[in-house]
């Protein structure tokens, strides 16, 4: 099936070349970072995780979000999702590849990465994260490939594959839960030390992931003649709205606990995120515009998706989903990780601003993910068209 990636319209090749350019820039930036060190990033002794780990966290959600296609189709027998479950699986593959690349980019000694397996440490959550992420990657490759092969041959998928499909559903939940546990088990960081992190991560993933699938479907409809069907899209919109409202609700609960209890440690990070935190006569507010962007775009997107127009008009639907994806990226891909470091354990405030080199690597990895997803979707759609012709 791989041969399908080698035949395409000029637009396909231009798009891949465009992504390839950013991948090359990212690679060059990474070589610099590899040689000089992470001092080329904006990270510091006080803000020891930055853009890489926040992108990783967000993209684990992108991978887990695909389960919102599998679950209705395989558990509730919602037939309309039959054509797009493969898109969810392939999106998950690309997202996990990006996650692993972001982790590698963040390591001080990337050549020693396998030490995580050579010296397994069951007390460390990172050990479990490595296991579930890799397991989820390979299970998605397996399921995606076997199902697509069966479809191409116009036969039913083999029975044994259902074991792995059903296994992938709890595994999708687990990747984001374990990722949340990386944060919520750290005693010294007030902002992260809350049991709602895992549910919040899942809610935002189940909104942002399917939103991206809808955007992908709308693009595929225009450029590849692949129509996922209105009924499937509308069902996805319903799922997105519920998950998005849950995420906003969870954020609200966090704000309640912080502000009603009036405990300084619970409030500091929220103060920093939404209003600016005053410390030693200086107001630190780097993230304030991003977080209000999240609030406005988030509620705006939910409102747009609730309108009947979103269920009929592709443009309205696309804008709503795009706004929602962007909103939740601002929240989880920017705010969540960085705010955890405010204030520092020594009660100081240190702000983080990514460097150009760091942004270059980040864009390079995003471009790689889009490249992988493009190639995988090309295969899936190619098989789809081949079957239609028969």
């Amino acid at each position: 099936m791989i041969e399908k990636t080698l035949k395409g319209k000029p637009a396909y090749w231009i798009w891949l070349a465009f992504l390839g350019m950013f991948m090359a820039i990212g690679a060059a930036c990474y070589i610099r970072q590899y040689n000089i060190g992470l001092s080329l990033t904006g990270m510091s002794r006080d803000v020891s995780w930055g853009l890489y780990i926040s992108q990783f966290t967000f993209l684990v959600g992108g991978a887990a979000g695909g389960v919102m296609l599998l679950l209705p189709y395989y558990i509730h027998n919602f037939k309309e999702f039959g054509r797009i479950t493969i898109l969810g699986e392939f999106m998950a593959i690309a997202a996990i590849i990006m996650c692993l690349m972001f982790i590698m980019a963040d390591l001080g000694q990337p050549m020693r990465a396998l030490n995580v397996l050579l010296y397994p440490s069951p007390q460390s959550i990172l050990f479990y994260d490595a296991i579930v992420l890799n397991a989820y990657l390979y299970i998605n490759i397996l399921c995606g490939w076997v199902i697509l092969t069966a479809e191409r041959k116009q036969v039913k998928p083999p029975k044994w594959i259902y074991f792995f499909i059903y296994l992938s559903i709890p595994l999708a939940i687990s990747i984001h839960t374990v990722t949340a546990m990386l944060y919520c088990g750290l005693g010294g960081r007030h902002f992260w030390l809350t049991a709602i992190i895992a549910p919040r991560f899942l809610a935002s993933a189940f909104a942002a992931g399917p939103a991206l699938i809808i955007i992908a479907c709308l693009i595929l409809k225009r450029v590849a003649g692949f129509d996922a069907g209105r009924k499937a899209m509308n069902k996805l919109v319903t799922i997105i709205i519920y998950a998005a409202i849950l995420n906003m609700f969870f954020v609200g609960l966090e704000l309640f606990v912080g502000y009603y209890s009036n405990i300084p440690g619970h409030k500091h990070a929220f103060e920093y995120l939404f209003f600016g935190l005053e410390h030693n006569g200086h107001v630190y507010n780097n993230l304030v515009p991003f977080m209000w962007g999240f609030v406005v775009l988030g509620f705006g997107a939910i409102a747009v998706l609730l309108t009947p127009a979103a269920r009929k008009n592709d443009l309205v639907l696309g804008l709503g989903c795009g706004a929602l994806f962007l909103a939740f990226w601002l929240d989880k891909g920017i705010g969540f990780v960085l705010a955890g470091f405010v204030p520092t354990p020594m009660y100081d405030v240190v702000e983080y601003i990514p460097t150009a080199n760091e942004i270059g690597i980040t864009i390079g990895i995003w471009a790689t993910g889009l490249f992988v997803v493009t190639v995988l979707y090309k295969i899936a759609i190619g098989v789809e068209h081949e079957v239609e012709k028969c």
Binding site: S39, Y119, F341, D348
Partner: protein, 269 residues
Amino acid sequence: MDKQRRKFLKIAGASVVAGLGVPVIMKLSGEPAHAAGGNAAAAKDTLTKEASKAVRLGMVIDMRIFTDKPELLDDAISSCINAHNVPQFPDKKNEIKWLWKAPFKNVFPYHSSSYASKKIGKVDFAVLCNHCDEPPCVRACPTQATFRAESNGIIAMDMHRCIGCRFCMAACPYGARSFNYQDPRPYITKYNNEFPTRMKGVVEKCNFCAERLALGQEPACVEACQGTGAIIFGDLNDPGSELRAVLDKEFTIQRKPTLGTKPSVFYIV
């Protein structure tokens, strides 16, 4: 005054087990320091059998003495820097700190400092790794590159195994850990050939001078304050130690005790 302490340090140093070939992670053996005493009260005092046997190194920092002689802390810090080839980066972003100073409100953020005496506001406190009995950094490390030496309770680092994920830095509630964002060697002011330098991409922190203890010496900061009683070092599990005598006599506080990390560094304010 410190006859007993010297004795302990010598015993401990003489029975060193060569660790993994890296001086940084040498271990002290766990001498049953007070088992021979037959002190029933002391035996009751310790919660578990293991705790009564193992050495748990700890420290009392007497800020009354540092308040009177602030230059003493500078001496201690520079002897630490020289002993461990700690690089001196000009910028705050890349800095590496093992033993450093900070005001009370930063060191004890959960203790009230409203209407604090002016004296407290001006004093610089000595800050270092707490060598916790329940270390969150050790729990977080995915490769056991940072670990608790069972024989003496030191939280040690294997810089050859560290992958530089910085999970330990996020986990440490005391800001005790530093990451080598770039090659530290050009920023070492005075080379000490007795201690290894580090490479870029690994985490490091105070090691309670495990390498000096192995030779029967006191930690560098303790030695720098010799005779003043500003830093008292010893075995927390030995009821007969000078350290325990000071802890019995004085009111001491630990940093962020509510987190359950059980710091081994105590402060007399």
